[in-house]
Structure formats: structure tokens, C-alpha cells
């Protein structure tokens, strides 16, 4: 008929007549079975042979349901995942066997504590030779309680760890770890860690699962130049089922080069980098090390693999920074963009604050920042007694008298000492070592303070981490005395409002607004 219509032929309009249902006699439109729906329903029950009660196992600790043989699926009551779970449970066994097609499923409300889940399924089946019959029926899922494997393991020994990642950096300060802590917090990389422990020269992360530890190691490898190795230790084994339980250890070592370090490159490395002047400053450490020659403004990148092939140590680190007073600045060249930041080569006359009598001449890359009368921090090569083997290998090397690293805001900071900052950082929940001696504790505190100052001074450091609004901060009533030069601070737009779900704090926050 349809073909005739398409062909353009005249087709008589067909009206469907009514026949009587062969059982009950009511007039109805002819159907494949020629019985009215009610008679068909009374005649045929396609739910015959389907289970109306199904048992499912639920873990009360982690609210997940067992999909045999071993998978546990986490789903909340009346969620889509639970519906899919219930559907799959019935589909593979009952529906396939009886050649039934499931069309629709929905939950029926049950009391949450009743341990029963009811689902109404709409199913279709072919009945009486090419009549498709649709019927709804209810399946009741009885929930039995049973702990899943991971929860029972945790219950037995909550401190049990399977894998540990030991991050180490053999330097005398903890700046890298402060920074890493913030990055880890931002990316939530330590979410799966059972415990985090602070050790000397590093941090230990304990995980319940080897794959979590591997993921963490890979994450660290992306943010810092690292070298890692792994080992495992047999804890127990079951001869019958050939199950072996291990404890895995990942040793991750971060390279010793940090930002603002002065490095004397070994001969081979300098040659491979195109004869970069043996004295370089490290400007940035991510998963590559950015090195810059302050005298020639040349720069290069060293990635982790290359570094670890021929590892080298810094000549002078941040602890050896000395304060300088800038007497005169003479700009030599125009502003150059080196690896994302701009520098200007300049000749400077400086004097150490400790020894204002001796005037030192040096070349620096900070020409765009320094003006006469400024303070700067740098390495005192004039007075330093360096014992580096590499330095000795260079013949005819003229060491500069001073290498300036950064501008110092120490004097202006004096005025703001003691005042809280308008922003704060979150910290990881770490188990600390036994309390160290007071000297060491002070060192750590000053390191942290230095880290915060670094954050204020360097916008690109801030870029990678999250800063939060400090509720306790009250802007001071008296106007800050501007000295022509403000202490660098974090602009308000960069701060994130800390999400707080308690009522009281919300009120406070609203009032603050």
C-alpha cells in the first residue's frame, strides 16, 4: 500500500473496522492477537518465570553494592547508578533467558531503613506469533549487609598501608616541599593517601593501593624533576590460591637544584648546552630546570632525564644570600624576554650591607628592577670561599665579584612586620616528626616566611597554587604610608573564597561582604 502511494497511484482510503474480541465480545480494533487487551492480559502473563525477589549485597561502610564476583559499585539510594545496577542484575539472567526486552525501569519509594529496593520494570515480549505484549511488573531487591574487601581490610588494621611514596630532596631548606604541598593540595593528588608523614629532608605518603601510589609518583614527576625507583617486600602469601601480598616502596628523589640557586655547571654539561657560562642561576624549576646566565642573559632548559644523567649540585643556595645596597645602575642593553620573564642587562655598583665600605662592580640581569638606593639580595663571590670541584676544572675563569638574584623588600617589609596577610594558604594534614630543637624550628619558620614572601613577589609562582581569603585579616584603619614603592602583595582578584558549609561562617561571610 505504501509503495503504491509513493508511486503516485490513487489509493482508496482505508478505514479500519471493528471486530469483536474473541473472548469477551467487546468491539475493538483488530490486532495481531484479535483479543482485547484485557483478555490478552488475563490470558498471557509474560512475567511468568521471572524473579520477583532478588538478593543484593550491600557494604554499610562505603555504601556500595556487590556485583559478583568481586566488583563493588558505589551508589546512593535512588540514583542512576543504582538503577543501572538493578537493571543489569535482572537483565543478564532473566531477560535473556526468556527472550524479554526491557523497555523502562523506575524506582518505587521504600523506607530507607527497610533494606528493600523496589523497581518497576516495563517489559515487552512476543506473544501469540508476532503480537508484542507490554507489561509492567515489580521486582523487590532484598539488601543483605556484608562488608566489602577494602572496608574489612581497613577495619582490621586502619594504619595498614600497601604502598609508600618517599619524597626526598637533599637540601638544607624546605621551600620545595612547601611549594609542592600547595600544588598537591590544588590538584588533590594526595586525596587517596591514608597518611602523610613529614620526615627530615622529605615527606612520606602512604597509600592503600599500589596504583594510587603510582599515580601520585607520576603526578610528582610532572611538577618537579625527579628520579624514582621502586621496590616491593613480601608480606604474606597464600600457597593454595597463589595470592601474594606485598608492600611497595617508591623512592622519589627531587633534584637538588632550586630556584635562585647559583650553579657552576660541570664542563661536559656546559659544553652540551652550548658553552653556557659556567656560572648560571636557576630561574625556575618545574619538571624542567630553567638556567640563565646572568652575565650574558642566555638561558636554557634542562629536563629531568638530562639532569639525572649528569647530576650536579648548586654552588651557593638561598641560605647563602647576602644583602646588598645598590649604589649605581647603568643599563647596558634593552629589555630582553628570556623564557617568559623580562630581564635587562646592567652594570651595577653595589656594596654589601655588612660592609658598606667595599664597593663591588658586577653585571646583573635585574637592570629593569634596580635603582640606586635599592636593596638587593645576591651571592657574595668576592668574599665566598667556594670549594667546588667543578669550579677548579675551569681554567682562566674570572669569577664575578657578586651575582644579584633578586630585589630585596626587606626595609619596606619592616613596617608591615607582624601584620597578618590578607590571604592564607591551606596545608596538608601531615604527621610531624618529633619536635626538633629550637634552632631547627626557627629555621623552618623562617623558611616558611620566606616562602610566603616569595609568593607575594612572584606572580608566576602564585599561578599554580590556590590562595584563600583570610577571614581574620582586617585592613588597618590608618592608611598605609606609601613610600613611593609598595611592598608587593597579592591582588585581591587572585584570592579564592574558601568554601565553608557551616552556618555561622556563612553569616560572617555575608556580613563581611
Amino acid at each position: 500500500m505504501a509503495m503504491a502511494e509513493e508511486a503516485g497511484m490513487f489509493v482508496v482510503h482505508q478505514t479500519i473496522g471493528t471486530v469483536l474480541c474473541c473472548k469477551c465480545g467487546i468491539p475493538m480494533q483488530p490486532s495481531a492477537a484479535n483479543m482485547c487487551v484485557n483478555c490478552l492480559r488475563s490470558e498471557v502473563d509474560i512475567t511468568q518465570g521471572l524473579r520477583k525477589q532478588v538478593i543484593i549485597v550491600h557494604c554499610p561502610e562505603c555504601d556500595s553494592y556487590l556485583m559478583p564476583p568481586k566488583t563493588w559499585i558505589k551508589c546512593r539510594l535512588e540514583s542512576n547508578e543504582l538503577l543501572t545496577f538493578c537493571w543489569n542484575k535482572v537483565k543478564n539472567t532473566d531477560f535473556k533467558k526468556n527472550k524479554i526486552r526491557g523497555v523502562h525501569a523506575e524506582f518505587i519509594w521504600t523506607e530507607p531503613h527497610s533494606k528493600r529496593i523496589k523497581v518497576r520494570f516495563t517489559i515487552q515480549k512476543e506473544v501469540l506469533a508476532n503480537a508484542i505484549f507490554e507489561q509492567k511488573y515489580i521486582v523487590e531487591y532484598v539488601q543483605h549487609e556484608g562488608m566489602c574487601d577494602s572496608c574489612s581490610r581497613v577495619q582490621a588494621n586502619p594504619d595498614q598501608w600497601v604502598a609508600v611514596v618517599q619524597l626526598r630532596q637533599h637540601v638544607s631548606h624546605r621551600r620545595t616541599f612547601f611549594y609542592l604541598e600547595q600544588i598537591i593540595l590544588k590538584h588533590d593528588a594526595a586525596a587517596r593517601a591514608i597518611t602523610v608523614k613529614q620526615m627530615s629532608e622529605g615527606i612520606d605518603f602512604f597509600f592503600a593501593n599500589r596504583s594510587h601510589a603510582i599515580k601520585f609518583v607520576e603526578f610528582v614527576g610532572k611538577v618537579a624533576p625527579v628520579k624514582s625507583r621502586h621496590d616491593k617486600q613480601l608480606v604474606s602469601h597464600d600457597l593454595k590460591s597463589n595470592n601474594y601480598n606485598y608492600k611497595y616502596t617508591f623512592s622519589v628523589e627531587i633534584c637538588q637544584i632550586c630556584r635562585e640557586d647559583l650553579i657552576c655547571l660541570p664542563l661536559k654539561v656546559a659544553a652540551s648546552l652550548g658553552n653556557l657560562g659556567p656560572l648560571v642561576i636557576c630561574t625556575k624549576v618545574t619538571n624542567t630546570i630553567a638556567l640563565m646566565d646572568p652575565l650574558t642573559l642566555r638561558h636554557c632548559f634542562l629536563d629531568a632525564e638530562r639532569y639525572w644523567r649528569t647530576p650536579f649540585q648548586p654552588l651557593l643556595t638561598c641560605r647563602q644570600l647576602v644583602q646588598y645596597y645598590v649604589i649605581d645602575v647603568k643599563i647596558v642593553s634593552s629589555e630582553v624576554n628570556v623564557g617568559g620573564s623580562s630581564y635587562t642587562a646592567a652594570d651595577v655598583e653595589v656594596a654589601r650591607l655588612a660592609d658598606l665600605g667595599t664597593v663591588l662592580y658586577a653585571k646583573t640581569h635585574l637592570g629593569h628592577l634596580l635603582k640606586p638606593g635599592d636593596y638587593a639580595l645576591g651571592y657574595d663571590l668576592y668574599g665566598a670561599n667556594t670549594n667546588d670541584a667543578e669550579l677548579g676544572k675551569y681554567r682562566g675563569l674570572n669569577l664575578p665579584e657578586a651575582i644579584l638574584i633578586k630585589k630585596s623588600y626587606e626595609e619596606t617589609r619592616q613596617k608591615k612586620r607582624g601584620k597578618p596577610r590578607p590571604w592564607k594558604l591551606k596545608s596538608l594534614n601531615m604527621e610531624l616528626d618529633e619536635p626538633k630543637s629550637r634552632v631547627e624550628q626557627e629555621k623552618v619558620n623562617s623558611d616558611y616566611e620566606q616562602f610566603l614572601k616569595d609568593l607575594e613577589e612572584n606572580p608566576d609562582l602564585r599561578f599554580k597554587i590556590s590562595l584563600y581569603h583570610n577571614r581574620e585579616y582586617q585592613p588597618s584603619e590608618m592608611g598605609t604610608v606609601t613610600d613611593g614603592e609598595d611592598v608587593p602583595s597579592v591582588p585581591l582578584e587572585e584570592l579564592l573564597a574558601d568554601l565553608d558549609l557551616s552556618d555561622k561562617e556563612v553569616e560572617d561571610y555575608c556580613m563581611e561582604e
Binding site: 482510503h13 478505514t15 473496522g17 469483536l20 483488530p30
Partner: protein, 249 residues
């Protein structure tokens, strides 16, 4: 003799009795079954009035679907053996012309549906067969389809009083067929919703026989459309005799 309306027939556990029997106003053909039950029911209903003949066609028992006939004649497929042909010629009354038809479509019962005046045939029937039908059965022949099916002999059953067709027949088709056949038609089912009408029942002007699965609703429909309640066999047979006598004179 009360009008018969027999239900609950089974031929060897099958309720498709129209396959194994052929009922017309002048004779009745019945297949040779395992037990005599089938035959005895027909006999008890019809024995006094018309001859009930046990036969096979082409060695098969599906005689209802292989032959087509009315009171004037009987058409048999080319697969009929000579013995069967002779047997039928002998058993049936003389005014019934028994003819073997050479036709590609050999299931004549499926292809031809007829009463004493009109016949509906399969659309692909040969021209010669059509002429033969008109001659032997003395009917007007129309090529038709019923609810889009070309096997008209299977999907409808009609007598001189009324007819039952495939349930999916549209109203326009029903009207058209009704005008052609000049009898009231109704769309319905037989044997609990089966659409193959002629296989499930067999009917003439005063009796009908239905398979065992037929429901009460279907029975009432059949009863009303074939007007079986008022039918008196003797009256009809007398009418036939009258016409015969008339012809003498």
C-alpha cells in the same frame, strides 16, 4: 431436523477442521482420519440430507484446502489420482460436475472461495481456470484480495446467506466485497483469534462446523452473520428440488 451448529470439533487434535473437510449445499467431503469421530459427527448432522463422502485428494488429507466446489460442481487439482476422481464421481449426486483442473496453483481451496452464485479467486489464476470455474460451478468470478492477502480461499468463508472475512479487512473493502457477493459480510475471527477463517470452520446455508478453540463470542458472530438460527435444511433442499422440478417442465 434442527439447524446444526456444531462446535468443539477436532480432527486428530487439530482444531483446523476447514482443512480436513469441505461442506457445500449438496454434499460434504471428509478426510480419512485416524478415528471415526470426525466423520461420525458430520454424518450425524448431515446424513439424511446430503451425502457425506470420505475421500483423499492426491493421497493427502488436506482436502478442504485442495478442492473448491458448490452445489453445481466440484473442482479438483491436477494431483488428484484417477481412483479418487472416480470414487468422487460415483459417490456424489449426478448433478454435481466433478472436474479436474490443470492449474499451477493446485491448492484450489486456498485460491477460490465460492457460494452458489459468486466466486472470489486468487489474482494470479489462469484465464482458462477462470473460465472453467464459471462453467463448472456456474458462478460469476471476481479476482480479489482480502485485507491485502491474495489467498482469498483461506481468509474468508461465505455461503449464500452471509460471510465471514479476515479481521483486518477495512470497512471500504468490506463494502466492496459485500456488493460483489451480494451477501452481508462481517470481519471476525475463529478458533480463539485465528485469522485463517476458512481453515477454522466450514459452512453451508443451514449448518456450520467450527473448531474446538472457537470462543462463545466468535460463535455468536458466526451464528448471526450466517443466519443459522432460522435455517431449516429441509426448506432449502425443498427449494432446490422445486427448481429441479421446474426445469423438467
Amino acid at each position: 431436523m434442527m439447524s446444526g451448529f456444531c462446535v468443539g470439533l477436532q480432527f486428530e487434535n487439530s482444531c483446523e477442521i476447514g482443512v480436513f473437510s469441505k461442506l457445500t449445499n449438496a454434499y460434504c467431503l471428509v478426510a480419512i482420519g485416524g478415528s471415526e469421530n470426525f466423520y461420525s459427527i458430520f454424518e450425524s448432522e448431515l446424513a439424511d440430507v446430503i451425502p457425506v463422502v470420505k475421500t483423499s485428494i492426491g493421497g493427502t488429507r488436506i482436502i478442504g484446502r485442495l478442492c473448491a466446489g458448490n452445489k453445481n460442481g466440484l473442482l479438483l487439482p491436477h494431483t488428484t489420482t484417477d481412483q479418487e476422481l472416480q470414487h468422487l464421481r460415483n459417490s456424489l449426486p449426478d448433478q454435481v460436475v466433478v472436474q479436474r483442473v490443470d492449474e499451477r496453483l493446485s491448492a484450489l481451496g486456498n485460491c477460490i472461495a465460492c457460494n452458489d452464485h459468486v466466486a472470489l479467486t486468487h489474482t494470479d489464476l489462469d484465464r482458462e481456470t477462470e473460465e472453467l470455474i464459471a462453467d463448472v460451478l456456474g458462478v460469476e468470478v471476481f479476482r480479489q484480495t482480502i485485507a491485502g492477502n491474495i489467498l482469498v480461499g483461506s481468509f474468508c468463508a461465505f455461503s449464500n446467506r452471509g460471510g465471514l472475512v479476515h479481521p483486518h479487512t477495512s470497512i471500504e473493502d468490506l463494502d466492496e466485497l459485500s456488493t460483489l457477493l451480494q451477501v452481508p459480510l462481517v470481519a471476525g475471527t475463529v478458533n480463539r483469534g485465528s485469522e485463517v477463517i476458512a481453515a477454522g470452520m466450514t459452512v453451508n446455508d443451514w449448518t456450520a462446523f467450527c473448531g474446538s478453540d472457537t470462543t462463545a463470542t466468535e460463535l455468536s458472530v458466526i451464528e448471526s452473520v450466517f443466519k443459522l438460527r432460522e435455517a431449516q435444511p429441509s426448506a432449502i433442499v425443498d427449494e432446490m428440488r422445486k427448481s429441479l422440478i421446474d426445469s423438467y417442465v
